[in-house]
Amino acid sequence: MIGLALRSLRHRAPAFTATFLSVLAGTALIGSFATLFETSLGPVSKEDQEILFIMGAVVGAWGSLIVLFSLASTLGIAVGQRDTEIATLRTIGATPGQARRMIRTETLLVALVASTLGAGIAWVGGRGLLAMIREAGMVSDSVAFAGGPLALGSTVALVTVTSVLAATIAGRRATSGPARLAMVDAASGAGRMRWWRILAAVVLVGYGVVMAMITVFITADSDDPYAAMQTAGSSSILVGVGLAVLAPTLLRWTAVTLRPLVGRFGVAGHLAAFNTSRRAHVLGGVLAPVIVFTAASVGTLTLVAIDGRTSGPANAEADLINLLNNVVVGMISLFAAIMVINAFAAVIAHRRNELARVRLLGATGEQVRSSVLVEAGIIAAVGVLLGLVAASATVVPFALARDEGFVPDGTLWLPPVLVALAVVLTLAAAALAVRRATAAPVLATVNQ
């Protein structure tokens, strides 16, 4: 199986680019924070240790949640789009177990190489991060960078294990059922939501909602002004990731509801409306990062703004917390942006043949491009809507806790700007991906 996996990797290098990039970026992000944690274990003062620990472990843990989730969803797309190839292998005599082993081996190889390179970036990135907080005067200048095998090794292990686990789950789905069935235009089919996904979503959303309620009813009255922030701060990310886990189902529901409306926009709207509703399991992978991006950025930045208005005169602690929040938002947003682009590239590349098929029937390249853009529009609309719902899990409780009421007193321009950013990002990612997919002549694409 290793031999087959290696040949498959070499033959289809471009198809593994999405996996490779996600693992690389994910390791770089988690690893940078992990080095701060390892530094905190070294010979540093008690105060420095606490700050390094918060940065490394607390912030790093939230980042990890998002990164690992996005990684799993990208791998789900990557394996899911090889359904036909896997079905072919099985019709010539590969057992489901052999097919799964091949998928696992491939993923293991790609993840090991990419995460090792990512660890190299994290080693540099961690130094940069430490230099930044030293510069800001939050830790003493004597603190020396001590990130090494412990932090980077466990990051590589964590990312690799997550990748292989995600590939295993996706591989199980791709190899269940009779082989021939998968050969019948595998692109269709509802793609049932598994119980563990629903459970994970309920736990995440439930945890976020409970934290929001604790903020309103308990920590709002605390003497420590940051108690409310600690409980409310993570709610938007928790609810956002929880909703993102359910992305395919949520997309199907909304797309079915929107169908009569979108169907009015000519043939592009017609195609997009049915594609988003009947193949939500494919496009859900693109929706997920849009939700997370909107939830994390709107939630956290509004939180920072409310805090800035209500926490009184500036002090060192407020500066640090603001910096932390901004670093988190920056990192997560950048990562989510990569994920949106990545996911679109993977989904569209997989649909190259299908898009060429419409062109064979007499669709112009323009019609194909606009139908994909309408799809992206639906995804963006659903994504920012759910993202705003998730963000309100942080914003509303924290605004209440700081006596601003249900709606914050200021910076109301922030959500529209971030929403616009998310929409532009989604549309641009789609436009980029589809332009590449429709550039080749129709015949060359169909005969591949």
């Binding site: 017609h270 009947r278 193949r279 064979l360 029937l361």
Partner: protein, 249 residues
Amino acid sequence: MTSTPALSVHDVTRTYGDPGNPVRALDGVTLTVAPGTFTAVMGPSGSGKSTFLNCAAGLESPSSGRILIGGEDVTDWSESRRTVLRREKIGIVFQSFHLMPYLNAEQNVGLPARLAGGRPDKARIRELLAVVGLAERSRHLPAELSGGQQQRVAIARALVGNPAILLADEPTGALDSASARDVLALLRTTVDTLGQTVLMVTHDPVAASYADEVVFMVDGLVAGRMGQPTAEAVAGQMAHLDDLVKVTS
């Protein structure tokens, strides 16, 4: 017959590869298809029959020669004009069906009309699905249909725009023999009862026997013709294609 040919091809060549060492897929093909007839193009692999069909469908440009569809010379048309041509004058049926997986049978048949910017004619779609024997299955997705049923949906889709000619590229190549017979009988019916013109590329003598005339291609040339074909006669001729080449060269 005095009526305009549905398709007429004059001395068409198609060359691939670099100019120093060209591969001639078509080496001067001339062929006329009268309206309301069923023609089968046969030949071994590499004989140029698929290239010929692609040129006729406007999917490829010939290197030289002229192609007329419904009397109109379409050889030098731009890519976008040929796209409109495919939509309005040509119906294509492919070996692998090429249905949209997320549209049901009815929606797949209605797609060309939507691509042309119009609204599909519901009554016409229902009528065509009845013609191909799938009136009861109009709401099914392709994955819920058998191969033969999918191909019949594809034929209904090809017919929906009243094309001047229906081009079929190995339409039974991916089907079992019972489904293949159904599809071939259906193509025959479209010619006999709807007056449709059909040009089919195939390598199967049984498929070719459903046609009014069989055209044999060898090495990018039309090597011979046979009227009123039977499967046996076609198979016999295919076994002795070399003789045809000797006669023509």
